[in-house]
């Protein structure tokens, strides 16, 4: 029985701290409810129209993916705790389980669920020759580090 004492003390302390901090704010802060406090924070502007309730579907897809892989992790925890006892059979069981998830992951990434927003193209400026102003004196071109196409030779 004795060995469980520290855990029980920890639980009690945690619960105590949670409750205390929960009620302390109720106790300490003066209560001044006002319409502004309940309104959403729009950087100080009172919005004249409500935001539309329809959100693009990509948010939903990412949320579902997170839940899926999160639960997969939860199943791995008990295995990780007792792997010597469970022996090699459980190990291969876990590998199969993970492989199934990995296949799903590859399919999802291939279908492009994770490429978020517009793809950034490194658009090289098409410099109209006549437009560029002929500089007088010494000019130094910077910002060339790590550029995808290093073929641009630096100007005079």
């Amino acid at each position: 029985m004795g060995q469980y004492l520290p855990i029980v003390c920890l639980l009690v302390l945690a619960a105590l701290f949670g409750a205390l901090s929960f009620f302390a704010s109720g106790l300490l802060a003066p209560k001044r409810p006002s319409s502004a406090k309940s309104a959403p924070y729009e950087c100080g502007i009172v919005p004249s129209r409500e935001p539309p309730d329809r959100f693009p579907v990509t948010f939903y897809v990412v949320a579902m993916l997170f839940i899926m892989f999160d639960i997969e992790l939860i199943f791995i925890y008990p295995f990780a705790v007792d792997r010597e006892f469970l022996g090699a059979y459980a190990l291969w069981e876990m590998v199969a389980f993970t492989a199934v998830f990995f296949a799903a992951f590859v399919y999802v990434v291939a279908r492009g669920a994770l490429d978020w927003g517009p793809v950034v193209q490194h658009r090289q400026l098409k410099q109209a020759a006549s437009e560029t102003h002929t500089p007088t004196g010494s000019v130094r071109v910077v910002g060339l580090e790590g550029r995808a196409d290093q073929s641009i030779e630096t100007a005079a």
């Binding site: 300490l28 003066p30 209560k31 001044r32 406090k37 924070y41 100080g44």
Partner: protein
């Protein structure tokens, strides 16, 4: 019991002030003053000096204000740093209203405190026409030392402020709280407690 109802109604303010709870009040006052987070209301030149105060050289995190909360929900002190224009006044009032209690306001710089050198149509002549101000920091812009001095004054005020219910029957003492401005009335001055 009426005490329970008072506590539910006004939280800490409902407990009557007496010898036992005085120490508790000092503890709460000390805790509040040592961990008050500023809401960064940077408008003009004073904002640059406010950032300099927040940076490494003057470093107000020594006084518990190390992070400038952008959203008013998590901020205790609003530092109005810069000139408030007529177009900005409603925004300032809205952000002040959205701040959680208890909240304080430092009016940083002469433009915020009194319109400064811009006595014209565009600038609100003194931010206390929009929000109740606790401490005025002079200077244009106030050097970081002046701002730290203003912050220290406010911390002292937070510590000494009364929280508990005073003997209102005899009119002695008063709550230190900001009364909410009823619809359409003139702005109410801040009622400060007298120990």
């Amino acid at each position: 019991m009426s005490l329970i109802k008072d506590i539910q109604a006004d939280g800490f303010g409902g407990i009557p002030h007496n010898a036992i709870t005085a120490k508790l009040e000092d503890l709460v006052g000390w805790a509040r003053s040592r961990s008050s987070w500023p809401a960064s209301f940077g408008l003009a030149c004073c904002a640059i000096e406010m950032m300099a105060t927040g940076a490494a050289h003057y470093d107000i995190s020594r006084f518990g204000m190390e992070v400038f909360r952008a959203s008013p929900r998590q901020a205790d002190i609003m530092i109005v740093a810069g000139r408030v224009s007529q177009k900005m006044a409603p925004v300032l009032r809205q952000v002040y209203d959205q701040m959680m209690e208890p909240k304080w306001v430092i009016s940083m710089g002469v433009c915020a405190s009194s319109g400064g050198m811009f006595n014209n149509y565009a600038i609100v002549q003194g931010v206390d026409q929009v929000v109740p101000v606790d401490v005025y920091a002079p200077g244009c812009p106030p050097t970081p030392e002046t701002l730290i001095h203003a912050i220290e004054t406010l911390h002292q005020k937070i510590e000494d402020g009364e929280l508990l219910k005073r003997r209102t029957a005899t009119g002695g003492g008063a709550h230190m709280h900001v009364t909410e401005i009823p619809q359409g009335a003139r702005p109410m001055p801040v009622i400060l407690g007298r120990r």
